[in-house]
């Protein structure tokens, strides 16, 4: 009996007080880039509930979720891929899959996790259950030359689209046979720096750094090849310096318009998604990094590159202009909306906290301590294509 009690105690409340059943829809995590930790959070309570260490170099780390929202797959800069159980608040498995990684995605059916790597340049597919390596697809664009991979996005049919920074291509790799993937290649333009897939999974877009414009591939008709849109989008004649590459992932479509960071410029570009033509530019207070729509599309929140990274501008999509400007903290690196957008979480890296704001009246609702916080990822991403 005594032994049983001890065993019970060791198992914590789980076994004895009856299982604490709960869903995962209101959970999430905060990357603490400097110290290799993640803080697990509850977006209903707006509180952290656990902290997990030992994840390596998490600068530029990102996360994707299993379909059930229970497991997060975290891609670290050092090539680490860590699977975390949000309910048990622990690491399930951790592998080092490459020397230098930049993110990853999860397949439509949730079975395959794909990492995109700078070094060695290419992508790798893993079984989401076991993190066993399924296939490796090097980004060789000329004999013996491998490109850094950017913009990896999941699309329909367990296909992944991505771009080659050094190779100037868009590629689509089909993992319907996970151990024997097939890859299609499309010339795209000079130095694609990031990519995105539209929420319906139809178009893959890659922003170009080496020339003006965006390369677009219609994934429903890939045989038509990639074409260039927004030829006036870019750094322009003067080749403006860019102090941080904008992130296209997590981009925004609202009311039939897409809002994109104008690379190098203090502007957000407005594009009609029916014609893919530019229909406006909205001046903002710095070089945009993330341009993110509140889930209902009424607002677009914009953060900025150094030296304007303490500012956040909010665009009202009905008014078509910035209607709220704030300086919430030092080095605002990322923003994440509650699943239906009533509040937004901002990571203030140099203040060592995450700030929570009401998106309707911009009142501050609270803050959570975190060491050099960067990305914030909620489980609501689990059900979205391209997240």
């Amino acid at each position: 009996m005594r032994l049983l009690l001890i065993a019970c105690f060791a198992l914590f409340l789980n076994a004895c007080a009856g299982p604490q059943l709960r869903g995962t829809g209101d959970l999430g995590l905060i990357i603490e880039r400097a110290s290799g930790h993640v803080t697990l959070v509850n977006t209903t309570a707006r509180q952290p509930y656990a902290r997990i260490g030992g994840l390596g170099d998490l600068s530029h780390a990102s996360a994707v979720y299993s379909r059930d929202g229970r497991y997060a797959f975290i891609f670290g800069r050092d090539g680490g891929l860590t699977k975390i159980d949000l309910l048990e608040a622990k690491i399930v498995k951790r592998i080092i899959q490459s020397g230098n990684a930049i993110g990853g995605s999860i397949s439509q059916d949730g079975r395959i996790v794909v990492a995109q790597n700078y070094k060695p340049g290419g992508i790798k597919a893993f079984d989401s259950e076991t993190l066993e390596l399924l296939a490796e697809v090097p980004a060789e664009f000329a004999p013996g030359q491998f490109s850094k991979v950017v913009g990896l996005a999941d699309t329909a049919g367990n296909k992944f689209a991505y771009a080659l920074f050094d190779g100037g291509e868009i590629r689509v790799t089909d993992f319907s046979n996970p151990r024997q993937p097939t890859t299609q290649k499309f010339p795209a333009g000079q130095q694609p720096y990031d990519g995105l897939v539209t929420p319906d999974g139809r178009y893959f877009l890659a922003g170009l750094f080496g020339e003006d414009g965006v390369a677009m591939l219609d994934l429903w008709q890939p045989e038509k090849g990639a074409r260039k849109i927004l030829e006036n989008y870019g750094r322009g004649q003067e080749k403006l310096p860019v102090f941080k590459m904008p992130h296209l992932r997590g981009w925004s479509v609202a009311q039939g318009k897409a809002y994109l960071p104008a690379i190098g410029r203090h502007e957000v570009l407005v594009v009609d998604v029916a014609t893919w033509k530019e229909v406006g530019r909205i001046p903002v207070r710095g070089q945009p990094v993330f341009v993110m729509a509140r889930p209902d599309g009424r607002q677009i929140w914009v953060n900025f590159a150094f030296p304007d990274n303490g500012k956040v501008d909010v665009i009202d999509t009905l008014a078509g202009k910035v209607t709220h400007r704030m300086e919430p903290g030092k080095a605002i690196l990322h923003m994440e909306f509650a699943p239906r957008g009533e509040h937004v979480w901002l990571s203030a890296r140099d203040d060592n906290k995450v700030l929570i704001y009401n998106t309707e009246n911009f009142a501050k609702l609270g803050e959570i301590p975190a060491e050099s916080p960067s990305g914030i990822f909620f489980t609501s991403r689990a059900v979205r294509t391209g997240f």
């Binding site: 600068s59 530029h60 230098n100 700078y118 070094k119 102090f243 941080k244 590459m245």
Partner: protein, 105 residues
């Protein structure tokens, strides 16, 4: 040249001449800049990302002045931007010196 510019110029010259390297507070700012903001392309641990690794073994065989010029003026045609709006040439040289030996945490 306005008086304030002139005074600033004198001050600038004298700090560079006397100290030869940025003062402690400024060093801290520069280290933070390199780890965090250069880190977005070169990695926080400087092992590389979109930009190449900036560890001593990667830089050893390269002339320091050239590297300092890369930081100050950027490298046209690549994503490496000029940082001259945010630091002086002497500070760029100090950063290179630290990168080539051991970069502070």
């Amino acid at each position: 040249m306005s008086t304030s510019n002139f005074i600033f110029g004198l001050f600038f010259l004298s700090t560079v001449a006397i100290a030869g390297e940025p003062d402690v507070a400024r060093q801290k700012e520069l280290v933070h800049l390199v780890r965090q903001d250069c880190g977005s392309c070169h990695g926080m641990t400087l092992k590389g990302g979109l930009g190449p690794a900036l560890l001593p073994e990667n830089l050893r065989d390269k002339p320091a002045e050239g590297l300092a010029a890369t930081i100050y003026y950027g490298r046209p045609g690549t994503p490496m931007p000029p940082w001259k709006a945010f630091l002086s040439e002497a500070e760029a040289a100090w950063i290179v010196d630290k990168l080539m030996t051991e970069f502070p945490e």
